[in-house]
Structures are given as structure tokens and as C-alpha cells.
Subunit: 223 residues, 2 copies
């Protein structure tokens, strides 16, 4: 009994990690569609998102079956509730990849505005945050949470800076407006991926510490 | 035993309805901050959002306690999982209200661009969808779900139309760019509120029909 219970938990955990890695791959692919100006990559992102969606449904069903069969309490119960919530963040990461891919296709129709530097950097930061948040979850590493929060602040800062820069650019050169709007949207989608990673980190804190800090600015004991 | 179990479920349901009505009130207040150009309303939205956040934490804790104590199965188990998920959508509706309030404050710094007609209309449509989705949840009205989906398509359409109109406006009159960007953002936030209502509707379908349609375009048997 004990063993089947652990095997079931481990299966759920693996499915969640798989979902995270599919999300990461799609975000990377959407970024390549933008940087390499390759529409076919953008199309792949859009079609592969259905796999992420399907995995969300599957993980939700696994979680409900587990709850019904094992009636877990304490940490195991919180673990499953955390899985259900993380799952919903990961599904939204996949959605952001699709939105980036669509903006990439719009941007690829027009001449390059300027070499992308900040945007791929933001993308790598957001994805690193996502990896850290999943690592905190799987390996019970509470100490990573403050680090994720710091990086989220940095991503927010780059996003705000890009918004200001692109606004000035639009005012000076109105013929770049549609391109600037698309780049702003990409930057905003990356900022939201970082937000999802930060949400996951806060849920992991709740899982292991039993306290909800979703609406606190700073992780207790880390500032 | 039976009675305490029902009382607990009913308490959770009422807390969720209270959260929805606080979200609706804040969205309305943010819209008034914009239409009436009243910064003090925008400030109230920002400060009252903490109450919505606190309610989310409270509902999550109630749900976890309920699961631990009652170990529900079948419909009652799905009910609680649905509550946890709806709760997270409602918290995000509150966040969108805050974001609209912030954009209203930015817009109030500059002269009025043009009388707002589409935006308050979108707002009322999104809030009506939210009410319908909660009604479908509380009163087990599956037939409302297709109606919510139709309205979501209408809100998406208005959002896309506003995006195009405001883009043209920016190109013709570059001095309106910052105002147009703020109005675009408000329109996008309203579209996301409608999305949350649509998400809730799909979760309600899952609750009562036991099937997950989150990633299907059309509700089975309604098109």
C-alpha cells in the first residue's frame, strides 16, 4: 500500500516536470521564431501547445484520483493541491509561448526594427526562474525562493524599461508603431512567464512551510 | 456529521461568492476611476485588493481543511478542487481591477482622448459573464456555459477592434501614443476578465459533467 502510494505521487511529480519542460521548450522555440525570423517554428509552437493542454487535463485527473483513493492529509494533501495549482501556471506558460509565437509571425512580416538583445535575455531569465521554481518543488529547496523573487524584480525592471524605450521610439518614428507594439507584447508575455515562475515558487513555500505567502512581497526570513 | 459537512461546503461556497462580488465591485470602481477621471477611486481599488487576496488564502485553507476532515469523493471532491481553481481566477480578476485602476491614473494625467464608449461596454459584458459563471456554479446551470462562451467571443472581437482603432489613431496622431497605449492596456485587462469568467464556466462544466473541456473551443452539445 505504502509503495503504491509513493509510486502514484512520483508519477504525478514526473508528469508535472514533463509539462514544465514542454513549456520551456515551447517558449525557447517561440523566441527562436522571433530571433531567427522563422515562421515555421512559430507554427510548431502553436500546434504543440495542445500537448501541454492535454497534460494539464491528465495531471488534474491523476490528482483527483489520488485524492479519492488515498485521502491524504498534511504534507501529502498540500502536495497534491500544490500540483493542481502549479499545473495551471504551467499551462499558462504554454499559452504565453503561443502568444509570443503569434507576435513573432507579425514581426517577421516587416523589416527588423533593431537587433533583439534585451528580449532574449529576459527570456533566458524567465526560463531560469521556471527551472529554479520546479527544482525548489522537487528537491525541497526553500532557499531558492528568495532568489526567484529577486530575479522576478529584475525581469519586471527590464520590461518597464523596454516599455519606456519602445514608447519613445514610437513617438519619434511613427512608422515603427506596429512593430513596437508587437515587441512590447512579447516583453509583457515574458514578464508574465517570470510571474508564473514566481507564483510557483510561492506555492512551493506554502507546500513545505505550510504558510501562504502568495500575497506577500518578501519571503519571510530572506530579506 | 452529514449536517456539519453540508454547512462546511456552504460556508466555502458563500466565501467564494463574496470574493466574486468584491472582484466585481473593484472592477466597477476601476472603471469609474477611468470614466469619471477620479484618482481617489483608483486608490481605493488598489488598497481594497488586499481583502480579495486575503479571502483567497482563507478559501484555500478552508478547502484544505475540508479535504483533510471529510476525505470527499466524486462530486464533492470535484467541487472542492473547482473551488480552489475558481478562487485563483477570482484573485486574478482582482489583479486586473488594480491594473485598470493604475492605467486610469495615468490617463487622468492627460486630457481626455475621446469619450469612452466601447470600454465601459466591454466592462459590463465581462462582469455579466462573471456573474453568469458564478450562477452556473452555485445553481448548477450548465445551460449558461455556452452563453458565456459566446459572450467571450464578442469581448475578444471588441478588444481586437479597439487594438486596430487605437493603432491607427497612434499612427495618425503620434502625440496620443501614451494615452492610446494606456487605453489598449485597459481593453486587454477587460478581455482577460472575460477570459477568467470563461475559465470558470469551463471548470463548472467539469464539476457537473465530470469532463474537462478547458481546452476545447466549443462546449459539447451546445453548438
Amino acid at each position: 500500500m505504502e509503495r503504491s502510494f509513493e509510486a502514484e505521487l512520483s508519477k504525478i511529480k514526473n508528469a508535472l516536470l514533463m509539462m514544465a519542460s514542454m513549456g520551456e521548450r515551447n517558449v525557447n522555440m517561440a523566441m527562436r521564431a522571433l530571433v531567427e525570423r522563422d515562421d515555421s517554428l512559430a507554427e510548431t509552437v502553436e500546434s504543440e501547445d495542445t500537448q501541454i493542454d492535454a497534460l494539464e487535463v491528465q495531471i488534474n485527473n491523476m490528482a483527483i484520483e489520488y485524492l479519492a483513493r488515498q485521502a491524504p492529509v498534511a504534507i501529502d494533501l498540500r502536495f497534491i493541491i500544490t500540483v493542481v495549482k502549479i499545473c495551471s501556471d504551467l499551462e499558462r506558460v504554454g499559452d504565453q509561448a503561443v502568444k509570443i509565437a503569434r507576435r513573432a509571425r507579425e514581426l517577421n512580416k516587416e523589416p527588423l526594427l533593431k537587433p533583439c538583445i534585451d528580449i532574449p535575455r529576459m527570456c533566458q531569465m524567465a526560463l531560469e526562474m521556471l527551472r529554479l521554481s520546479l527544482d525548489a518543488f522537487v528537491s525541497h529547496k526553500i532557499e531558492l525562493i528568495a532568489e526567484i523573487e529577486n530575479r522576478d524584480d529584475m525581469v519586471d525592471k527590464i520590461n518597464r524599461q523596454l516599455y519606456r524605450e519602445l514608447t519613445s521610439y514610437m513617438i519619434e518614428t511613427p512608422q515603427t508603431i506596429t512593430r513596437c507594439l508587437n515587441l512590447m507584447a512579447v516583453s509583457r508575455h515574458l514578464e508574465r512567464i517570470a510571474d508564473h515562475a514566481n507564483n510557483i515558487a510561492k506555492k512551493v513555500y506554502f507546500l513545505y512551510e505550510g504558510k501562504d505567502i502568495s500575497h506577500q512581497k518578501t519571503v519571510p526570513g530572506t530579506s
